[in-house]
Symmetry: D2
Subunit: 464 residues, 4 copies
Amino acid sequence: MTQKTWGGRFQGGTDDRVVTFTESISFDRRLYRHDIQASQAHARMLAEVGLLNASEAEQIVTTLDAIASEIERGTFPFSVELEDIHTHIERALIERLGDLGRRLHTGRSRNDQVATDVKLWMRDAIDDLDGRLRKLQLALLAAAMREREVVLPGYTHLQRAQPVLAAHYFLAYLEKYQRDRDRFADCRKRVNVLPLGAAALAGTSLPIDRESVRRQLGFDIVAANSLDVSSDRDFLIEFVFDLSLVALHLSGWAEEWILWSTTEFGFLDLPDAFCTGSSIMPQKKNPDVLELIRGKTARVVGDLQQLLVLVKGLPLAYNRDLQEDKTALFDAFDTVAAELELAAAVIREVRLRRESIAARLEEGFLDATTLMEFLVAQGMPMRAAHEAVGRLVRLCEERHVRLADLPPEVFESVRPGLSSGVYQVLGVQNALRAFRSAGSTAPPEVERQVEAWQARLGSSERGL
Amino acid sequence: MTQKTWGGRFQGGTDDRVVTFTESISFDRRLYRHDIQASQAHARMLAEVGLLNASEAEQIVTTLDAIASEIERGTFPFSVELEDIHTHIERALIERLGDLGRRLHTGRSRNDQVATDVKLWMRDAIDDLDGRLRKLQLALLAAAMREREVVLPGYTHLQRAQPVLAAHYFLAYLEKYQRDRDRFADCRKRVNVLPLGAAALAGTSLPIDRESVRRQLGFDIVAANSLDVSSDRDFLIEFVFDLSLVALHLSGWAEEWILWSTTEFGFLDLPDAFCTGSSIMPQKKNPDVLELIRGKTARVVGDLQQLLVLVKGLPLAYNRDLQEDKTALFDAFDTVAAELELAAAVIREVRLRRESIAARLEEGFLDATTLMEFLVAQGMPMRAAHEAVGRLVRLCEERHVRLADLPPEVFESVRPGLSSGVYQVLGVQNALRAFRSAGSTAPPEVERQVEAWQARLGSSERGL
Amino acid sequence: MTQKTWGGRFQGGTDDRVVTFTESISFDRRLYRHDIQASQAHARMLAEVGLLNASEAEQIVTTLDAIASEIERGTFPFSVELEDIHTHIERALIERLGDLGRRLHTGRSRNDQVATDVKLWMRDAIDDLDGRLRKLQLALLAAAMREREVVLPGYTHLQRAQPVLAAHYFLAYLEKYQRDRDRFADCRKRVNVLPLGAAALAGTSLPIDRESVRRQLGFDIVAANSLDVSSDRDFLIEFVFDLSLVALHLSGWAEEWILWSTTEFGFLDLPDAFCTGSSIMPQKKNPDVLELIRGKTARVVGDLQQLLVLVKGLPLAYNRDLQEDKTALFDAFDTVAAELELAAAVIREVRLRRESIAARLEEGFLDATTLMEFLVAQGMPMRAAHEAVGRLVRLCEERHVRLADLPPEVFESVRPGLSSGVYQVLGVQNALRAFRSAGSTAPPEVERQVEAWQARLGSSERGL
Amino acid sequence: MTQKTWGGRFQGGTDDRVVTFTESISFDRRLYRHDIQASQAHARMLAEVGLLNASEAEQIVTTLDAIASEIERGTFPFSVELEDIHTHIERALIERLGDLGRRLHTGRSRNDQVATDVKLWMRDAIDDLDGRLRKLQLALLAAAMREREVVLPGYTHLQRAQPVLAAHYFLAYLEKYQRDRDRFADCRKRVNVLPLGAAALAGTSLPIDRESVRRQLGFDIVAANSLDVSSDRDFLIEFVFDLSLVALHLSGWAEEWILWSTTEFGFLDLPDAFCTGSSIMPQKKNPDVLELIRGKTARVVGDLQQLLVLVKGLPLAYNRDLQEDKTALFDAFDTVAAELELAAAVIREVRLRRESIAARLEEGFLDATTLMEFLVAQGMPMRAAHEAVGRLVRLCEERHVRLADLPPEVFESVRPGLSSGVYQVLGVQNALRAFRSAGSTAPPEVERQVEAWQARLGSSERGL
């Protein structure tokens, strides 16, 4: 009997280069725990339906536990000859249990076995990510509270637009990561469908009980169509897409904080522990962690593209191409998981440079829109008010002054009587206090949002 | 007053090339209906909170209706000078209503307006796609019933593997498209959150009532953070990703049927109405529709990649880059919508070439796995049975015979007594009947699935 | 005889949805001039080898010219029924010339015809792009000369690093665009290989003379293998890749200038003619053109990905999927061509804000590396010098001073005798003057580069 | 003195997670040989210009050789603390040579050092790939000669089109891989430009001699602009694009041979050594190598997309994001290199199943186009001939016969006198012999191509 699980019909060995080219043990070994978990459930089910007896199943379960321990301890021997983690474990079982080991693969195929292992792994991965995203949200919420009173210039087109509370800024990201969590939760529903029992592609003639396996492994339902199972990687691609969106959220934030760390912006000072220096320029303190978070986005997008290209044009059912799904999956997960941890750590440690921010806050006419809305509230048509304030801004630029510096007669010429109340909405602090709409940066509104997030995340006790 | 909505602060006009480079009217005009719908709700709300009076709001609503009719009839003039659909409609309103028209944009920005329009459009698009996917499922279900008794070779690695019922094959795709529908439903939850009222990025100082607008437009909730709204395109990217998965499902099926249409496979004959010919080769009948469905997958994947690249590294909040989201969105939707319609039509019209399929059905040892499972059921360890059958297959290949053609003594040499029952599981029809696991191609199991889908899709009345 | 070029073997018409789904006339009509050019060469060749007589060929050529004029004038009728530009033109020819028109397609197929048309179009497109890139280089060179004496902070990690001459900065982009030009030139070699005569996939039994066609159309060589021609889109994908790199170069520059246009950097002021405003915020002047140049990069990358996905897994020879190549091709070209024109225009118009740049030039320790090299030149090991200067920078940060502000005794403590010469290399202007390596920002070195580019681009007369 | 190369200005250590997140030693260690080669040239140059003395340079060179040997033998200790291969080697040098080791980094930065190392590595990689591509071409050429007389159905749209010689088929791929070789050669020109001496981004004040380094390392020219060097990854992206096209060529061929290996096509039988079996289905022999070649295309396309996303929107000059270029680079190279080796091996071993091919060769009307051209040669307009043959094909399909089976009177009804010569061009062998155009599958034309390739590749002695 050959080492392979499929030797009977073959003459001569496999070309050595083929062994190397087709192996997956170098990356699928990390599935070992989930492979063993699934095999144990399978063995117990085989006993339930009489394809094994109870003590046989028990021997298999126990021996698999022993194998798991060896892998954990690093004493289990791996070899590229044995192709993948599934063969490694089955071979070890056969070495220890002889013919009994040869019975484990009854009523299943590697196709449904792999899909099951991957889904079990992904279920854990999703739960892990959800925890990391929550920690990131807590870090953002803590920052929102910590920097509560700081007023930042808000930007569109990277041009100064209107004033925003720092808390409002941090809460914007809480929303984004919440959507990411929701997407993962939706993905999890589609992950949590049991493939095992689909066998190669058509099911089996043996009296297996998929419902028992489902129950043992905690899947929600049993996959309904064996051909579908054997060809399906939707769940995996959806997961990597969800990871891509997280990475893209992180990339925008990283970009922003790279800007904020410049001499020119001067909004924050990154702790030394999160920066590195230059091999040649002694003064440099570089935001490498932020740059790599931005840069590693490319990995995740590349991983997604790999998966989309991979499945394009593949007919039913399983094709060996699909083996290539796992490197992309693991790479995308590892990348985003590490990014999330570091992002949370950076956000916890950073402090805004309040003086530096405040020093230039009145630049950029952040109060212009409030002035326009003041005119609107007084009855001027919005477009006319917009036009009028636009002209005032041009005047200020010519005079190198702020709107609040314009004399009353200028405002009177815009609209008689305007000068009486207008100075109460000019200047950044006044402009900020004027906001009132739901979801706006109005201080009470932001306060309300902070409280809502505290309640939602249960932040006071856990994690803050 | 200039034509632009933002002229007051500018001196001199915009460079002509810039006008052409930055315009979006050539593609965003298709949002006109949703833009007007949103503006009408906005106007009504402005009246509710006293920023307009009731008759003013009514005039605006009525005039917008008139504008909508003109656009529908093709009598509305478009000009690249007016940038986008929003400016076109507002400008037309001002031309007709003067200062009253100038009041409509009160308390909103193009940023939240565009996001609202797009979400309204997407909500319709999702509902439309759901209908198309359901029709495709019904076509597949009809095919499953129509071709019920046909037995097909099932493939893995495009090598003949085990027999499957044609109905089982069609049902596999029903599963895939159901997941697509579920994904769109999940996406719709995230789409159905009202952006309007976020204004440019920070909200507004005017007393707008976002809840009223939400209610009028049928959104589930109001978006909570204005900065998030101004920068968010998650919903749009998720939608295009969901479209990509549909396209990829279609691409695999198209590939498969392109194969099935070859002289070599000969599984089906496409109706002339879905084929085209060659300009030089008179005998050609080409499966162009299937090829283009496969090829257009590339468009949708390209559209998704465009969006992922687009938002990479963008800081908060709105950046003009985001205008480029719509060409990808519309292209992906149009492509998939057309594909779905054609796929359903093709599936309804095609008939399997039953004789041609049956003629070669016994090739490829489709019964080998059943034979192995027969040995397992008799107590032989699975791996030993696999090995034994592998050797029998090799023997058959040498002798150019099928497993069922092997004489009893060969089976006896594998396992004494085997020859007595073995011929009842050999041959494709026997092998097929032997299946029994849940989700397998076992005839009663497939029947059960067909009935479940009929119930789920309400197929008997609608669409079949 | 049907309208299609391939009707003889078909019964019944084509489904209307199929007509719409498979048409390409909506986008391939822009190939009309090149299609006619190729057909005229083909007709002349047919006469040379006796498949037409001379007057027949002349009639065809003349009639094609007439058709070209009508298309140019907009009087030629287009219809989706006629599939593509090739059918339109051939059909018009047959309408006018009867049976003689039916002879034009002798010895060719649409497959080689389309490839020929596209290559002729691409050859023009490459030459056009080369001209645009040269103009952009000239604009950069003019800027280099115009802003010659301005000193900018050079960045790595977006942190201030070392001083650079503005001219050096502009020249960096000249290098990048020169590589783009070189890549297009390389691509052009592979484009300029004649496909016509490959016919459908196997050549023809008619005595055509491909060499004559090659000569008439100015191709370098005749493609050697008909199967290769019928399946090849390498040239087109390479071209779109080359466009992607141009777009990415533009994206980095656009990002940079978006930063430079912020209140925070304040390095430049974009002319009003290249900016747009906000519909709500009256003070805004946004760098929309730069943002869209950055954003449209995503289109081009998406187009490239579309092409890569498109050809993945396609067997020989022509497959209809390939029709989808042209939308990506045209979109990528149009996008980059427009970007190049606008980029050159922006660069010509912009002026650096010299005072604003100079005001903060001493921030960021731009002279630290020069100081370190000064120590090295005096014999201190580089690593030790790096360490020493690093400590001095820390000291400066604690004291809120520049390196040049440190008292002599501090330098003496680093290395006895250091204080005597050190002040001659401190300060940004001193640091800049210290450079001397080839390719560096040393003023004479930059001057040398400017002159080399002037000579290379022939700038003094043309374009500046 | 800290372990890092940049510690002086920093307080406190680097966060452990940051160390792990930012390290590159896990993947850049494979550059060690090229790093040492570049450092040795740098050291010799430093001696030439007096920044070291001759014996110091010699010590450095010798010690670097010793370090190289240790790395080769696997005795060199690696640690994630030391970030990258450059730091590892420099640190080891310092440990052994003390202050002399601290002098090596004089006048260079990691930025230009890394670029130089990568370019040296890539130059070798390109040469290696060129050799692999040539071997693949030789395998294809050998197959062309081996299977010379076999006639295959040629396909468009995967429908049988016209007959082609197997040799013609193999030569089509020779063309594609030749273009790949040409593209790599073009890329190599842009790779072979020396970055070293650009230092961090602005050059150096030390009197280095870049021309000496260029000469020592065999670069063609010295890069002209230091800012460009510090930001440039064009060469690397172009290389990975070129790899993508190779992978896509392989993917189409793999798809084709997967089809040819099916029961349905039956064109070839893959050697057992290049196939694997199934864990459940004993009869399966799967073309896994071909499937993985097709599937791994996705990796390479994903790698390219990673790089394109990576550099999008990065301002000058070096940003840490760029560190992420190497994993994509190495992965793409390793994947394609392995694919090329296996593809050549498979092509050498495979034999066409001549009887199986011949058995169905007359199916599909492969002679229809020749018949049409026969009519054209007799003076019938091409379109009329096309139409007429189309009707004959329909007639054959109704009668279930081949064109050659039609009785003379049918041909006479098409054109009087036709039946006299027509049977000499009907049937696949006749049709094949009728071809005559340059680049066609005409046997003498194919022979000419084979000879041309033999001469070009020097095949008789080397490799065949």
